[in-house]
Amino acid sequence: MLNKVTESAAQAMSNITDGATILIGGFGLAGQPAELIDALIERNARDLTIVSNNAGNGETGLALLLKSGCVRKIICSFPRQHDSYIFDDLYRAGKIELEVVPQGTLAARMQAGGSGLGAIYTPTAYGTLLAEGKETRTIDGIDYVLEYPIKADFALIKAFQGDRWGNLTYRKAARNFGPIMAAASKHTIAQVSEVVDLGVLDPEHIVTPGIFVHEVVHVGA
């Protein structure tokens, strides 16, 4: 009997080592896997590359992870936001590397990574500084930039319900990057508000099938 439910967030972090690339779900605070991030900070693996839409705000979650000094580089679309002073200070002090990627390109690169494509031509950012130095091509009269997949060692995401096969549902706009991050990483850890018995999730309503999920951690709702 296969059971992907892991006892604790701490245990789920045990395979994460120095130098790992980790996708972290969430858009602002919605869908941010706060408890998994706390456990990752505890884990204290160093030299991490983090891929997430934002770079954290305030003194919790992603921001705290950056503050912990574990992160060498962050790939995101929108680092500067309300209360993102931890990132801002690290960046201005040259203590963290930043790769800014348009939000749709971030999503498309993860989807390319998850689906085994080698590269994609996207029209986004053509002719701007985010395309500088990148290969371009005109196809049917439209200009495109060549972008490469994002694949990661781990994904930490937040879902709503999960079962022992790793099937997941999400809640409202907290879904955001969860499903595509799950597919783009070798080892996906999902924190869920509820663990349900196999068969409770309607096969028509499962958003992320268990094939993309390796560990499910129950956290207080």
């Binding site: 930043l98 348009p102 939000q103 971030l106 498309a108 701007t128 500084l129 706009a173 907290a174 879904r175």
Partner: protein, 219 residues
């Protein structure tokens, strides 16, 4: 002394709203454009899209009804209309990049007469670049409307022949709504559709860094 009163943000938002037809899928950028939602007609089905996986955004929730899992791209609490839906970021940007969004309304620092836009990066050494979905919207939406002040804080025109700021979207703007005028970006040049009462075309031209064409009579 001015013999005219610039339009307020609410007034500009109302003009934008008037140009949105029933059945359109619309993305309103962070900041001023968000205001447009307040002036959409209640009796028409217009679909507001948010990059973070929401279609059919409704009005702000009442106090106490806020849900941390239901926010818009500006991270403000929202509601969902009956008939709305949730989806992941991949699908959300399929909607944007794939040309399924009829209209997006963006803020801007500068717009050039050929429709180039500078709207999220000033390019100063200490600035932290933060693009979000702005570039995907600029490239992907069927129409891009810009909503901004006509001149900047120093009185310099924000509508220019060529961008002085770093370009963030090429030839993508279709129409500009400012506090002084509504201007179409066309192959023939910048055509003024409408001006604030009391403002002359000549005055408007002096506040604009590119050649304008007076088209107010033919609208």
């Amino acid at each position: 002394m001015n013999n005219y009163t610039p339009w307020s943000v609410d007034e500009i938002a109302r003009y934008v709203a008037q140009d949105i037809q029933e059945g359109m899928y619309v993305n309103l950028g962070i900041g001023q454009p968000t205001k447009v939602a307040d002036f959409l007609p209640d009796d028409k089905d217009i679909f507001l899209h948010s990059e973070n996986g929401v279609l059919g955004m409704g009005p702000e929730p009442t106090v106490g009804e806020e849900d941390g899992d239901l926010i818009n791209a500006g991270k403000q609490y929202i509601t969902l209309l009956k008939g709305g839906s949730y989806f992941h970021h991949g699908d959300s940007f399929t909607m944007i990049r794939g040309g399924h969004i009829d209209l997006c309304v963006l803020g801007a620092f500068e717009v050039a007469e050929n429709g180039d836009i500078a709207n999220w990066f000033l390019g100063r050494p200490k600035d932290i670049p933060a693009v979000g979905g702005a570039m995907d919207l600029a490239v992907g939406a069927k129409k891009v409307y810009v909503m901004m002040d006509h001149v900047n804080r120093n009185g310099a025109p924000k509508i220019v022949e060529k961008l002085k700021l770093p370009i963030t979207g090429k030839k993508c703007v279709n129409r500009i709504y400012t506090d002084l005028a509504v201007i179409d970006v066309t192959d023939q040049g910048l055509k003024v559709r409408k001006m604030v009462d009391g403002l002359t075309f000549t005055e408007l031209q002096t506040k604009t860094g590119a050649k304008l064409i007076d088209n107010t009579q033919s609208i």
